[in-house]
Symmetry: C2
Subunit: 380 residues, 2 copies
């Protein structure tokens, strides 16, 4: 699972250290799962427990330094990290804060220490401990250094996302095995996750969706036990993990022949996705992709309540950037993105369609197998 070669991590670290030098940062403090894994390869589902904080310090040169609970030392020792400092956590008096402060002081030698503070970042330690750390050490924003670097993927990362997409492709193709008129939605959700696992997912962190006449009432709900009925459009949106990388795309299904409105809405979404895909290439912006889709979805009305038409994807289900008018991120080779247009049906229902793509030197490639205009059918 942590099987990137050390050269992959070394390239990531050297790239970050180059930017750190440009910005006058003597060290970087990382506290979240994806940021720590990105530079170390430390992959564990143990982050599900909020109890213990985990820290990694990136010095101005050399490998990352782990400052972690002792329970994680054997796993961290299997990564390329050599300097592993531990304490027995939870420690109610000092849960790693002094050990971290001492490490940062000795590494930064009075220089500035950055940490992710910008949009979409989180601090994964209690605020009281953050304040205690702040009394010992000055911390500043990393200026989105980590977020921006993670946005552009290596070939090895793209290969993993492609694999994850292939697993979801195969699971979506098997939905008619588990869903037909009369099947309760929560039963479909359970069985769809089983299909994802059977097709090779390591685990399935995300599944949302819904079903209703011509579309869903909302697109982030968990399932209830309402059975599918003829005329429903069912949407399943999954983020599954393979070797630490996500796919994130959805598929819509018609229970029996769809209404003319539903069929037209789905075709419109495919057209919107295709329009964005065909213009995607290095040099244009995420806002350009938004407008290409929005012209087809709302006639240029400015989007729907979902708030965006796509985003980055990789070690997290959603990553920077966002396809919204205000996001002027310039596309670069190696960015992995979702295209996720949405439309509102005449009856007020929402329909969303989503594909995953990678930006190449000359354009873009689909990572998911793109859906066709015609809605796939479930038995009514």
């Amino acid at each position: 699972m942590t099987d990137f070669p050390p050269a992959e991590f070394e390239a990531r670290v050297v790239k970050a250290q180059t930017t750190m030098a440009e910005r006058g940062l003597a060290a970087l403090l990382l506290t979240t799962e994806p940021d720590i894994r990105y530079f170390t390869g430390f992959l564990t589902r143990f982050w599900e427990s909020p109890t213990r904080p985990w820290f990694v310090v990136l010095p101005a040169s050399g490998r990352p330094i782990a400052v972690i609970p002792s329970i994680g030392a054997p796993l961290m020792a299997r990564t390329w990290v050599e300097d592993i400092r531990t304490w027995q956590s939870p420690d109610l008096a000092d849960d790693g804060v002094t050990l971290l402060a001492d490490t940062l002081k000795s590494i930064a030698k009075g220089g500035q220490i950055g940490t992710p503070m910008e949009a979409e970042s989180h601090l994964r330690m209690p605020l009281t401990d953050w304040h205690r750390l702040g009394d010992m050490i000055d911390l500043t924003s990393d200026g989105a250094l980590v977020r921006d670097q993670r946005m552009v993927k290596s070939e090895a990362e793209i290969a993993r996302i492609r694999t994850a997409c292939g697993i979801a492709d195969r699971a979506f193709a098997r939905v008619p095995e588990i869903a037909r008129a009369g099947t309760p939605l929560d039963d479909i959700f359970r069985h769809f996750q089983m299909l994802c696992l059977e097709e090779g997912a390591d685990w399935v962190p995300y599944l949302a969706g819904g079903a209703g006449p011509d579309g869903c009432a909302d697109v982030i709900s968990p399932a209830d036990s309402t059975p599918l009925k003829a005329g429903d459009i069912m949407m399943l949106d999954t983020g599954l993990i393979k070797s630490g990388y996500f796919c994130d795309f959805d598929r819509n299904f018609a229970v029996g022949p769809p209404s003319a409105e539903a069929a037209a809405a789905h075709a419109q979404l495919i057209d919107a996705t295709t329009a964005a895909f065909e213009m995607a290439r290095p040099g244009i912006t995420t806002a350009d992709l938004f407008h290409a889709m929005d012209k087809i979805c709302t006639g240029g009305g400015g989007g729907t309540e979902a708030g965006r038409y796509g985003h980055g994807v990789g070690m997290q289900l959603t990553e920077w950037p966002s396809m919204i008018p205000a996001d002027q991120t310039i596309l670069k080779t190696g960015m992995t993105l979702t295209l996720e247009p949405s439309v509102i049906l005449p009856n007020g229902a929402t329909m969303v369609h989503e594909e995953n793509i990678v930006i190449t030197a000359t354009g873009a490639e689909f990572l998911s197998t793109p859906a066709k205009h015609a809605l796939p059918l479930l038995e009514a």
Copy 2:
């Protein structure tokens, strides 16, 4: 899924508001998934996306107020929350911060506003936005008000945890169907998650474990493709979700007849769990439970590198308190806990055993079906 009756949420809110009044807090700001769900019933896997912040404000009296991205409004409208204020997120210029500050100002009317800052809490918004909020509003620690209240469960919560434990019980009983000498561990992990889903889990956020001669090298690793072999002890530790509540316990399996050392270690762990279970009752402390187990596990040596012998469980995989010598939390009726002793085998391997219990008026009850002294066998 969000099917607690409003009276359940009303009781939670009134209890918190009583403590707020005692502590002079005019409002409470909540930013994390479990804290928001605890007071509102807002259950969605959409939290997997780190993009958007979500806020709930608990006033001194009355229902919670949601300050959330518009994409979540339909789902929040299905809860008992009536006052739902939205913005279209992501907004790169102001991602809900002004709307939140205005709400807090009008609700608190100059009074103190608390937010979880103590051990095991997190802030789920970017630090730059937290600092901007801090320029407009003074925020103080809630003094672990939310953490302490969530520690004691209602009958309705206990019933859900019991249901989750029952699902895991049935999945563990079926492990011999999917694991024998020669089966790769990652294959077992995938199929075990399928068993959890088949037995009724909504999803499976946590699975860890390992296998090796007499035990595991560490207990938080994801699986690799190493096949099981005769003489291995395999441990599977799962946290699955049913209706928003976790179980968290593990089972050990011997591949063929176990060594005398492994058999003795497992029996020792069962004895430790039993000793803690038999003394568990309102009025004693989590430290008392630690010492009862540690006497059997290490002869009172003070524990292993895992750092603790159990913890709370409920809406999160792990919750306050911790079974460590320093944690003097007094047990109360309605607390749901894991008992999780660990031992080190003569060959250096670790074996961990875990059960889930609830504290009752007169003692404790098992929520998981307690394991027996003899290790369950897998085909060698």
